[in-house]
Symmetry: C2
Subunit: 299 residues, 2 copies
Amino acid sequence: MARLSLNTATTKHLTLPQAAAAAADAGLSSIGVWRDRVQEVGADVAAKVVADHGLRVSSLCRGGFLTTADDDAARVALDDNRLAIREAATLGTHELVLVVGGLPAASGPGGPALPYPAGTPAADGPDDPARDVVATRRRVADRIAELAPYAAAHGVRLVLEPLHPVFAADRAVISTLGQALDLAAPFDPDVVGVVVDTYHVWWDPDLQRQIARAGAEGRLAGYQVCDWVLPLAADPLLSRGHVGDGYVDFATITRWVRDAGYTGDVEVEIFHEEVWAAPPERTLGTMAERHVRYVLPHL
Amino acid sequence: MARLSLNTATTKHLTLPQAAAAAADAGLSSIGVWRDRVQEVGADVAAKVVADHGLRVSSLCRGGFLTTADDDAARVALDDNRLAIREAATLGTHELVLVVGGLPAASGPGGPALPYPAGTPAADGPDDPARDVVATRRRVADRIAELAPYAAAHGVRLVLEPLHPVFAADRAVISTLGQALDLAAPFDPDVVGVVVDTYHVWWDPDLQRQIARAGAEGRLAGYQVCDWVLPLAADPLLSRGHVGDGYVDFATITRWVRDAGYTGDVEVEIFHEEVWAAPPERTLGTMAERHVRYVLPHL
């Protein structure tokens, strides 16, 4: 269990102290923490809670949502990301996961709502800010550049997470690992990295090559696992299943991650109503069992 | 309206004669037809119905579902695709759209069901056929090779359709235009092509380059439009909206398609319960209005 980590999203209803206790009881050595559970107790106390349970923090989830086209909203978002960087430093984790945000109309303040009412032809052109995914990605690049020195000064890495394209409109205009690596390329690998989350990238025909590239560039900052189950939940965000319950080829992807030189933690991050409703000890038990069966032999 | 085409999926509840009449009444010059509506009347009668309304067939939808790992099921699938090729030839369309199929466990006969019951560790390895997307894609390539000479002999092009990655497990292991072009590369561009469907590919960071490549290679066989609306329908297959109702940047993508040299039809293919429930003349009216507003100025 040395490399298995509980991401607190998997035990959504537990406070940080409860989640840390559950992870320690299950014999894990690390925990990936979401900011809501950290902020409930404060970052200093959170750091102490985790250490008192003999755990490390594998990552802090999450910063990001940097796509707004509105200057005031952008300042607020950048400030919040600076706070997340400080929280990561306090927690003693090097890895701050960023979900960059979707098209501004769908994911953030400061954008127009779609669909437009009839009779607003001015916004139908190629420069319509509500739909311009190319310009939105450029803003992400600019804002990563703005945050990078601050992250470096705090010893924290900005970890870009490509999200499944089903979330491209409302959560992340970064959809592939290759795209995340292109965005990261101008920066020191110790300051901007990427994370592989199986739910988001399992389908990518270029995945093997991009995982190898991430390893070669020294940017492979995390490996998060959960499964693609069918039928999808009505909200695809909540459709992530336990490893082994769906269609992801963990054997193959885990080998690609291993062959890329990854030696870090394997975080289990599941958003699923049934998993959240289960007793935490059962969730942790299933996590450990599936890890041994599907992931560990190939790690 | 010279290049606007009604795909019969948009008017799901109309027979082919009804759909052809609706398209002609709306002033369109072509119609994209699904095989179920063709087979109801037979391909010969279907061809006559379309011609009698002064229409062309822009494409036949769809062949494919070629991913099974079972030899008998594969023979059945290949035979059905040969029938589709003959139907396309009878209808006088050059373009037979193929949705290639998903992982065999999720999309076709002959595969095991997932998740596995406890205690079947033999299937957990990297060669698990139910999850091996790499091997599944290889089978698609092999079966395209098997069908290509038959298609060529009938003057029909096999048009590979990349589907949104939300359908990678259950409908199509081809998820990007680049991947479709790689699969098409060994074949004559007049025998294996690709189609751009905005719903499926709008999110792709490599889209501009791959559309240009498709044009340069002479493989751009179709342009299908509909919008990405939020929130998604419970079944993402039925979440396609009218052009302009969602987040797709039609101005930009249409320009890329135009710049790639595409001079063919623009098919509106919408799967959506509300659109299906609407009176056909309203659906056709909305199609035409949105075409003029969002697509035509950039075509």
